[in-house]
């Protein structure tokens, strides 16, 4: 059964709403409209307007309200309509969502899932294509998860909603309409991917691409293209940025001795910097070359007609691979 990522996310929400009466979806346009990306399509009809609530247009208010709901034992799933429109809620995320368990000495956890459609490649006008993962990944107390496949969209969202900790769930907009042969029924509960484990999407021997979310497909494409250059590239899909799967990542890098990190967000102080730094700390003597990064430039996200230059491309990835000091 061919399923899009949007449909898989929708199924995950539906199944969570069915199985746990505490799950509540809230956000802008999530009810009647079913969300601007239709991820919440049909939920208000099936579960009622209260379980899938159209809120006033105020992101801090949405998240603040969700915090109060979580305090009372509910399990809110919040939709931020677009990446950049989550910024008004930043204080609530950093000062409360991330800290509540800690500040109450473990007495009050906040099982909130914050869904954020993120990233570019969809021709969005300004403020509609930000990659904001670094802001969240740098904030202790949050889990930061981003699926890249249809199956993971379902499984990781289930895991996020089931988590007793807050999860920032970053949905790659450009993959929303990607499809795969997948049916939620296949995913037995036991098989729901745990948060915090990376996945080797492609084994390889020459060098390792480390990536996540929207950039996985381009890395797989690059790996395919690299064949003709004589490189056999491994591709690791991180899936969870926090917690970080040091074990899988380091094993994959040690196996090849060379690595390139790929993401859309601006490179400077991006998550790629963390990955490069920690891989280097942990695998230094296995490295034949520095861990390189292929990322968005250090610029505000460009207008639609220029985004192709900004986004990591097969070309840029292969260029980086070529710079991995093969002659040494």
């Amino acid at each position: 059964m061919s399923t899009t990522m949007v449909a898989a996310l929708n199924a995950a929400l539906r199944d969570s709403l069915r199985e746990d009466a505490g799950v509540h979806v809230l956000g802008e346009d999530v009810g009647t409209l079913g969300g601007v990306f239709r991820v919440t399509d049909g939920l208000a009809a099936e579960f009622g307007a209260q379980r899938c609530l159209d809120t006033p247009l105020a992101e801090a208010g949405i998240l603040g309200t969700a915090i109060g709901m979580a305090m009372y034992g509910l399990r809110p799933v919040v939709e931020m309509q677009f990446d950049a429109f989550a910024y008004p809620a930043f204080e609530q995320v950093v000062s409360h969502v991330a800290k509540m368990r800690n500040r109450t000495g473990g007495r009050m956890g906040l099982p909130i899932t914050i869904r954020v459609p993120y990233g570019g490649g969809v021709g969005g006008v300004e403020h509609h294509s930000d990659s904001s993962e670094a802001y969240y990944a740098h904030t202790p107390g949050l889990h930061v998860v981003t699926p890249a496949t249809v199956a993971d969209s379902y499984g990781l969202l289930r895991s996020a909603i089931a988590s007793d900790d807050p999860v920032v769930f970053l949905e790659p907009k450009r993959l929303y309409w990607s499809a795969a042969d997948f049916s939620p029924a296949e995913v037995a509960t036991a098989r729901v991917p745990p948060i915090g484990r990376a996945m080797v999407r492609r084994p390889g021997t020459s060098a390792t691409l480390l990536t996540y979310g929207p950039s996985l497909p381009i890395c797989l494409e690059a790996a395919a293209a690299a064949r003709s250059e004589g490189w056999d590239l491994a591709v690791v899909d991180l899936r969870s940025l926090v917690p970080f799967d040091d074990e899988t990542v380091c094993a994959a890098v040690r196996a090849t001795g060379r690595a390139v990190v790929v993401h859309e967000a601006a490179g400077f102080a991006g998550v790629g910097a963390e990955i490069a730094a920690r891989v280097t700390e942990r695998c230094f003597h296995h490295l034949a070359a520095p861990v390189l990064r292929v990322t968005g430039y250090d610029i505000p996200y460009p207008p639609p007609m220029l985004e192709k230059h900004h986004l990591p491309s097969v070309d840029r990835i292969l260029d980086a691979v070529a710079r991995l000091q093969w002659e040494q």
Partner: protein
């Protein structure tokens, strides 16, 4: 209608022990009914030339909305949030401002931007997608269209405040300007809206906030947005005058907005105007409005189309005849031709522009990155350039391997 007069301006009342200025709320509160002029005796006293001008501009505005929507269908515009049905708000917002004033539009207010004199192509640049903004904010005294909702409202306050500061420092170059901020009904829920109104009230800045209450924030109806008697009732909470007006009544809009602007200009403080109107089209061309509102509702509002209301009135008042209608229609077609012509040249944005304006001077990091991109583009120059590096939407993914096997 409750006029804006000196009784609305600050004055100290209240118990001796209270903190700070406690003023009489009455003049700040809006009337329960929106101000209407069409169909009332007040319409008779309205300048005839102005009425005709309003009509012409509304017709052009409607045509602008239609043409821009057509461009999206042709793929020549990426997206367009039409203000169809809200033309009386958009046009009067531009008309009541003087050259010295500033406009702070939201993403739906392209028409107001054009009505203030920006070339359609430049006003639509953001929606076309080759640059974030196409006009010079200083040339036109219009801030770039603001997409993050209500964020432009405090900018309007700051600019208006700055103008008064400079006027005080240097009276010779004083600009008695007013900043007009446009916000939607949904936008009033944002914290930035609140903070802007509060700053405006405290600073007494010459700002007018025009809320176009078109009944929806995308799919969310006003009833889910606010429980207030009216959005104009928010004003009193900031010590600001609040006024409610029929946003589909062009004469009422012009009259209330110009009163508000001149009230603010005269130093008597900011004003919040709620215009009750309706978005006849979907949220944008990408939206399907039938998912959240009935045809009957839209029809009822179509019957209150600001153009229809004004045309009917002008004809009845003998200010407009078939020839006048035809002339306006012709001007509208000319505008549409002009817009189409402006869109004839395909845009060809320069990749170098990515790095040019991040800072006044590019950092060494950006120079490196610009050089890297330039080198790649040079290298690609001979080779066929990949049309689009975006990932094809329907590509299947490798099925997830077994968790444990994969590790």
């Amino acid at each position: 209608m409750t006029v804006l007069d000196d009784s609305t301006a600050p004055g100290l009342v209240g118990p001796p022990h209270s903190h700070g200025p406690r003023r009489d709320p009455a003049p700040l509160l809006p009337d329960p009914e929106p101000v209407r002029i069409l169909g009332t005796p007040a319409a008779k006293t309205f300048d005839a030339g102005l009425q005709r001008d309003l009509y012409r501009r509304l017709v052009l505005g409607r045509r602008f909305n239609q043409q821009a929507t057509t461009l999206t269908r042709q793929g020549r515009l990426a997206v367009y949030p039409a203000s169809t049905g809200q033309e009386a708000c958009q046009i009067t917002a531009a008309m009541v401002l003087r050259g010295v004033d500033w406009l702070f539009p939201s993403y739906r207010d392209t028409l107001a931007v054009v009505a203030r004199g920006v070339r359609p192509l430049d006003a639509l640049t953001l929606m076309r997608g080759h640059a974030h903004s196409g006009y010079d904010p200083y040339e036109h005294r219009i801030a770039p269209l603001s997409t993050p909702l209500a964020t432009q409202a405090p900018h309007a306050v700051g600019l208006a405040h700055a103008a008064r500061l400079r006027a005080a420092m240097d009276p010779a170059s004083a600009e008695d300007l007013v900043a007009l901020a446009l916000v939607g009904d949904g936008g009033t829920s944002e914290g930035d809206f609140h903070e802007a109104l509060n700053f405006a009230g405290v600073l007494g800045a010459p700002v007018v906030f025009l809320v176009q209450n078109n009944g929806y924030a995308i799919s969310v109806p006003l009833a889910s947005q606010s429980a207030a008697p009216s959005l104009a009732h928010k004003a009193v909470g900031y010590g600001i005058a609040g006024r409610l007006v029929d946003g589909n009544d062009a004469l009422a809009m012009h009259s209330v907005l110009s009163a508000a602007v001149e009230y603010a200009r005269s130093g008597r403080g900011p004003v919040l105007v709620e215009a009750v109107t309706y978005r006849l089209d979907a949220h944008t061309n990408a939206d399907d409005a039938t998912r959240y509102r009935s045809a009957a509702e839209v029809d009822a509002w179509r019957a209150r189309d600001p153009l229809t209301l004004l045309e009917r009135h002008l004809r009845a008042a003998g200010l407009l005849d078939d020839a006048g209608v035809a002339a306006a229609a012709q001007a509208a077609e000319d505008l549409a031709d002009e817009i189409r012509a402006q869109f004839d040249d395909p845009p060809d944005p320069d990749p170098d522009s990515l790095f040019a304006h991040v800072y006044a001077q590019p950092t060494s990091q950006l120079r490196e990155q610009a050089a890297e991109l330039a080198a790649r583009l040079d290298a690609d120059a001979d080779a066929a350039f990949p049309a689009d590096t975006a990932f094809p939407a329907d590509t299947a993914f490798p099925a997830d391997a077994d968790e444990d096997e994969a590790r």
